[in-house]
């Protein structure tokens, strides 16, 4: 039973790396560049996965393309340009800052600023609200009620 379980786990571990090919690199820098690039490029078939994560055939082809270009001594920038020339900025998980992507990059900052201004205005309005004044007669009534509460 125990061996069966271990065999099952081994089978699982095999499935976990189904989309990953065995690659050999000339140096660690090249391997790092490969890992960086494949995790920054979007798989266009499954759109919410990087080509490193995806099992789609296109992702495998693009991984091969990245690997081959690195072997040819191309820089990371060269490869990113190669991909955007063919698939557009959408292929990059980190799109460049342009007029078209301005809202994407500045939107969160704009919302933060709006939020801070709203918070500031709200806090100031509270502070300015008049302090409530209680007459001596009312204060006595409050004290009486409190003492009555203590006795019970």
């Amino acid at each position: 039973m125990k061996y069966l379980f271990i065999a099952f786990l081994l089978l699982l571990s095999n499935m976990a790396c189904a989309g990953v090919e065995y690659r050999q690199f000339a140096n660690p820098e090249q391997q790092e560049a490969y890992e960086d690039l494949t995790s920054e490029l979007r798989c266009l078939v499954c759109q919410n996965q990087t080509i490193a994560d995806s099992n789609a055939e296109l992702a495998a082809d693009l991984r091969r393309q990245v690997y081959e270009m690195l072997q040819q001594g191309k820089s990371k920038q060269d490869i990113a340009t190669f991909m955007t020339d063919r698939y557009g900025d959408f292929v990059l998980y980190k799109p460049p800052f342009k007029l078209k992507t301005g809202l994407l990059w500045l939107g969160p900052v704009a919302f933060l600023v709006i939020g801070l201004i709203a918070l500031f205005l709200f806090a100031r309005r509270k502070k300015n609200a008049e302090a409530v004044t209680i007459s001596a007669e009312k204060q006595q009534k409050i004290r009486r009620l409190l003492e009555k509460g203590d006795q019970s």
Partner: protein, 176 residues
């Protein structure tokens, strides 16, 4: 008064953005290749692998470049429409047999009819990458100067032919 107008304005802004979002097609990625020269290739023909075809051979002609495969289900849907378009002889149709087995591809054409003037083979998907192919079927329209003028992602429907393709082809045929 502001207390009521502000949430209303926020709601309107949100509603407009969400309504726009509903009508977007995120699976259709605009191609950066529009109005760019067609990527160069020299690929063996499916029916006679010893002969090759490259875009330069089609200079001076308007042509459709249709990406298809025998394993692709929506290509089957599109196929009768391409057959009909081929009968009208309005345009040259070149097929890119994408990541397919030649035997399966030839069988498919024999069974369902062959709308292509020529089909070329791209067994390892490299021409596909150069053309930015990500979802088969795809159809490109290339003008007389070898410039890509239009890209259609997904199957061409019966309505697309008279609404998009025929007017565009007529316009490009009239150009010099």
């Amino acid at each position: 008064m502001l207390k009521f107008i502000l949430p209303l304005l926020l709601f309107i802004v949100l509603a407009v953005f969400l309504a726009l979002g509903l009508n977007l097609h995120p699976s259709e990625i605009p191609s950066p290749l529009i109005d760019k020269p067609a990527p160069v290739f020299s690929a063996p023909k499916l029916q006679s692998p010893e002969e090759k075809l490259s875009p330069a051979d089609l200079k001076g002609k308007v042509w459709l470049f249709n990406v298809w495969a025998s394993w692709c289900a929506s290509c089957r849907l599109e196929h009768p429409i391409l057959n009909q378009l081929a009968k009208q002889k309005a345009v040259i149709i070149i097929g890119l047999n994408y990541k397919d087995e030649p035997i399966a591809a030839k069988g498919w054409l024999a069974q369902l009819g062959n709308p292509y003037d020529v089909s070329i083979m791209d067994q390892d998907g490299r021409i596909g990458i150069d053309w930015g192919v990500y979802g088969v079927p795809e159809t490109f329209v290339v003008d007389k100067h070898g410039v890509i003028r239009y890209k259609h992602t997904g199957p061409v429907t019966a309505e697309d032919v008279p609404q998009i393709f025929l007017p565009l082809i007529a316009k490009l045929q009239a150009e010099n």
